[in-house]
Amino acid sequence: MLRKKVPRLLQVFKRTSHCDRQQYDVIVVGGGHAGTEAAAAAARVGARTLLVTQKIQTIGALSCNPSLGGIGKGHLVKEVDALDGVCGRAGDWAGIHFSILNRRKGPAVWGPRAQLDRQLYREFIQSDLLSTPRLTVWEGSVEELMVEEPNPEKPGRHQVTGIRLGTPISARSVVLTTGTFLSGSLFVGQTSSPGGRIGDAPSSAGLSHTIRERLGLRTGRLRTGTPPRVVKNSVDVSLAKLHPADLNPTPFSFINTQTRCKPEEQLPCYLTFTTPAVERVVRENLHLNCHIQQDTKGPRYCPSIESRVLRFPGRQHQVWLEPEGLTSDLLYPQGLSTTMPPDVQLRLLREIPALHKAEIHTPGYGVQYDFVCPTQLSPALQVKSTQGLFLAGQINGTTGYEEAAAQGLVAGLNAARSALAMPTVMLSRTESYIGVLIDDLVSRGVTEPYRMFTSRAEFRASLRPDNADLRLTLKGFEELGCVSSERYKEAVRVRDTLQDAMAALQSLSALPHIWKQKLPNIEISENKSGELTCMNLLLYNDVTIEMLASVFPESLSPYMEFSQRLKIEAVYRPHCDLQKREMARIQREETMLLPEDLDYFSLPVSLSQEVREILDRVRPTTLGAATRLEGMTPAATVNLLNYVRFSNRKNKIHNMCLRT
């Protein structure tokens, strides 16, 4: 289903540019990974959507590493795709080196990943947005948000009614995905300049001002960085270890059976290591590095080469040399993120054997930027105190394309639903990594850029990359309204086929000695009494669906399309069943909503002052989120639970009285 598209963005731009007083359902500010998913999702839900970005050319730009997916992040890409998002399909189009990480560690933690061609990725995203109905793209710099008095019938202290882009443009919902541009500063050596990405203008100070002063949102400051881009010809890859792609590229998207890049056309990566001399260069030049000297929180993972050698001295550190594209003459040295002055960067690079003659095309740099403390958001990614305002991506304190895309989708989806007078929706941490990500953000907040890891998901055995469609596509169509009917039909077919196949596997059985005869290479204990079903057999490591199909060709051949998924399902099913109870408990508590405007200090229930303060600070949206707060006691949970039930009942009675 890979489609070749011709970018026609400019035409659209011209068509819409002369309209001034416009009214949209949803306006998305920013064209990065969060913004593009948000705009696309809002339009899919049915909202008239406007995407505003500083430069149309940079829509879908990969500001940092030229890759998508990975461990934990690959889960997010699969889930965004299952909800009909853009990034998975774009990855399949632009990928030039596909591999499944963790292949030997169990399917629950497989990490689908691809190196991308930057240009192809941008082109795909741009043309996909272009062909999305109801979506308009506009180039410009947002001056400020239009803020008005709140709608008194809903909770919140303010209401955002649109943006000012020279002239005001009104919308029912606004999604901000400004990435590192909110009061962003760029750092190289001892110099710093305002901006969110090298080569782009800084965003207007008005936006930061509106957020902090007018809306009174709490913000914090984070930093990140990117390595220098190296001229490919100047690198001696023979001194690095070749790292080929998978022989058979696995697409990200559930609707793709193959990638655009042919297996043999894939480009390799290279692995090399730092030397003690690199550490020496870093140490000798620390005084020239003001980014690293400041105490703004950077990530503990993906740190700069400076922090790596300072925190783990005397070691070799890995450096991956990654292709930037099929025709690009640059390499991306993953692991060498640095904010040293450019001449020091060059000296540092050349201390690595494979890079001893390296030329730098663009120096590495650091970015410091404001983020909005995400505990001020609801699980729908709406600002709790401000009607009509949604946030997604780095503005919420996360890092990574995939994390941004996941939030963008949820924010866009809810912005549209809210604009179209539908209730907002949330994804539970029991059903998706997206849910884990958002629940962590809104109920715990961040102290460093938040990145997804599989260890964050407590139901990892159930939330696998392979079953993201079953978990989300059906719900995405039936409840959320962000999935096309074609994709839905396919997911239904997959679900039904898998169910049939599982039933068949459960019903097909034979006595142990028969199995032993048919599958002589498998160590089946003949002491087992009774018949063994195909499901039992699949629990053996070496038994595949293909083997079973050789024993029961007629019954199983219709399902060979899903042989790998069936094997995984069979192995994980007992573990998933075990998790179901705990998941059900969490889900029950997540359906119990706590009113957004609850005054915890005057709540007439027995709660300690400490608990009241915690609840007031975080303002959990559901009882489930409340129970996960640190410092909540069982007694407090019980009291809160009862309050919710009691007040619901009271409201119902109240409403009934009003009606009669």
Binding site: K105, Q318, S455, A461, V605, S606, P634
Partner: protein, 517 residues
């Protein structure tokens, strides 16, 4: 039959059945599937149980069970046949048995509350049993062995009742406070235990498990891109195996819990004719041992089960310690010494008519006497020994007073009591001292709820060990599922030591590894 012996019988039965249920791999409850799917309301919830009556010693204790497996618990512990439940909400007198061994644990009332007409709104069962800690423990232990049934967490009953919409606001206010108090008490109790050796042990396990999990998680999340040595997994393998072994060992000989179940081993020792057998007979209020003025009358160990203030005690009378040429007596003395080595508490009986009149010589005499009777390396620690100065009827009251006051300030002597088995003089004080010793040795069940706590701890520890086995099982085939095992083990242990969140694991990862991609 006198009531004491009835109770003793019950207690013994309980002990036997608990021993049986401790054996791993006993077949599941035979009736376990009899009522599958018969539950009302939250069909997927666990079934929980707890002691619902007040803690401590009481005439009747109520153990409540709530959840879909309640009928299973009732049918397999109160002998109701498949599907034939007693009439709802009607008290029925039954023998309550261990589901595995079928030993009778107690005879008491059982009530069956089909949901939603129950406190929690779920299928519920109540066991009204005798209030002794041993009976309560045995019933709770037996319930814990019914498949699908586990000890309730703090506030869980009430939580379920709320979820079923069973309580109104006023009730909640009260109950909320109650649960709060309960949790507070549990927290204090946990803290008390945590500051002891047991707490240190569990914390150390928890810490090691945390590191194991962090290292497996680091390997899962980062080893593809980072320099993470495969050796860390070998290290984890080793630690997991060690943890398993240590925890299994601990579950096997967790002495305090064991003492409560099998009784505190109290051994009466001393020179011949000090009045050891008289003490035994006095304590059990019947002539269990032959008493005569002839030295060396008791030649074998005489055991009697006793209830001292609600605690089971196994009291042993032993042969008098002396050099003897009599073969039979020498064997008796060997057995006495052997028993002394295993004793939780030694009652060292001394004939006080042999003690010098003045305090200092008396103290030296007692010290020497103790050393003579037992080699110094076998002398019990001070808190494991009680010096019983018997036969106060043979000395003058003034002399008794002098000893009682004077010996108190003498260092290096075990605590002592002056009694007369003949006249029962000083017996009350002695019993009080004995009771407090036994109580300490049993882990003081009267404060807080050790029976409950112990049953809960035991369940969590057992689950934790079982979860570690999952790591071993999947180590090579599927590291994600193996990690799941460690995570589960940590969660189970965390119910004792405190919750371990994902962030804590990440903290360890980033401290131990350089993650750069």
């Amino acid at each position: 039959m006198p009531l004491t012996s009835l109770c003793r019988g019950m207690w013994r039965a309980a002990v036997r059945s608990m021993r049986t249920s401790d054996i791993r791999g006993t077949p599941g409850c035979r009736h376990s599937s009899s009522l599958d799917g018969a539950s009302v309301g939250m069909a997927d919830a666990d079934t929980i149980f707890a002691l619902s009556s007040g803690h401590g010693r009481c005439g009747v204790a109520v153990v409540r069970v709530s959840g879909p497996a309640s009928p299973t618990a009732l049918s397999c512990m109160a002998g109701f046949r498949r599907g034939l439940m007693p009439p709802p909400r009607t008290a029925v007198l039954r023998s309550i048995t261990d589901p595995h061994s079928n030993e009778v644990l107690d005879r008491g009332l059982v009530l069956w509350f089909p949901g939603p007409h129950s406190f929690s709104g779920e299928d519920s069962v109540e066991f009204h049993i005798h209030g002794g800690p041993a009976v309560i423990t045995s019933v709770l232990q037996a319930l814990g062995s019914v498949p699908g049934v586990r000890p309730a967490e703090a506030g869980e009953f009430t939580r379920r009742a709320f979820q079923a919409g069973k309580l109104d606001l006023t009730e909640v206010e009260g109950l909320g406070d109650l649960i709060h108090a309960e949790t507070e008490a549990q927290r204090r109790q946990a803290l008390r235990q945590m500051s002891g050796d047991l707490g240190r042990l569990y914390q150390a396990w928890s810490h090691r498990m945390k590191r194991c999990l962090a290292h497996v998680e680091a390997f899962i999340d980062f080893s593809e891109d980072e320099l993470i040595d495969d050796g860390i997994l070998t290290e984890v393998d080793r630690t997991v195996a060690q943890l398993q072994a240590e925890m299994e060992q601990h579950l096997k000989d967790e002495r305090r819990g064991e003492r409560l179940r099998t009784g505190v081993q109290v051994v009466i020792a001393g020179a011949t004719n000090a009045g050891k057998s008289s003490l035994l007979n006095t304590l059990c209020q019947r002539p269990a041992a032959i008493v005569s003025p002839i030295p060396g009358t008791t030649r074998d160990v005489v055991d009697t089960a006793l209830d001292i203030g609600g605690f089971p005690v196994l009291l042993s009378d032993t042969a008098g310690l002396r050099d003897s040429s009599d073969l039979v007596e020498r064997e008796g003395i060997r057995r006495a010494v052997e028993r002394l080595e295993q004793a939780d508490l030694t009652l060292m009986v001394v004939d006080c008519s042999h003690i010098p009149a003045d305090v200092q010589p008396a103290a030296s005499f007692l010290r020497e006497h103790l050393h003579k009777l037992m080699p110094s390396d076998q002398l019990p620690e001070e808190d494991r020994c009680l010096l019983v100065l018997n036969k106060t009827d043979l000395i003058a009251d003034s002399q008794r007073e002098k000893l009682a006051v004077g010996l108190q300030s003498v260092p290096g002597l075990p605590p002592f009591c002056l009694i007369s088995c003949q006249t029962h003089q000083g017996l009350t004080d002695f019993l009080t001292a004995l009771h407090s010793r036994v109580k300490t040795l049993c882990g003081n069940p009267l404060s807080g709820s050790p029976t409950l706590t112990q049953a809960r701890h035991r369940t969590h520890l057992q689950r934790s060990v079982a979860a570690l086995a999952q790591y071993q099982r999947y180590r090579d085939a599927d590291l994600a599922l193996a990690a799941e095992g460690v995570r589960l083990a940590l969660t189970c242990l965390g119910r004792i030591t405190g919750r371990v969140g994902a962030e804590e694991i990440l903290d360890i990862i980033f401290k131990d590894f350089c993650i750069g991609k």
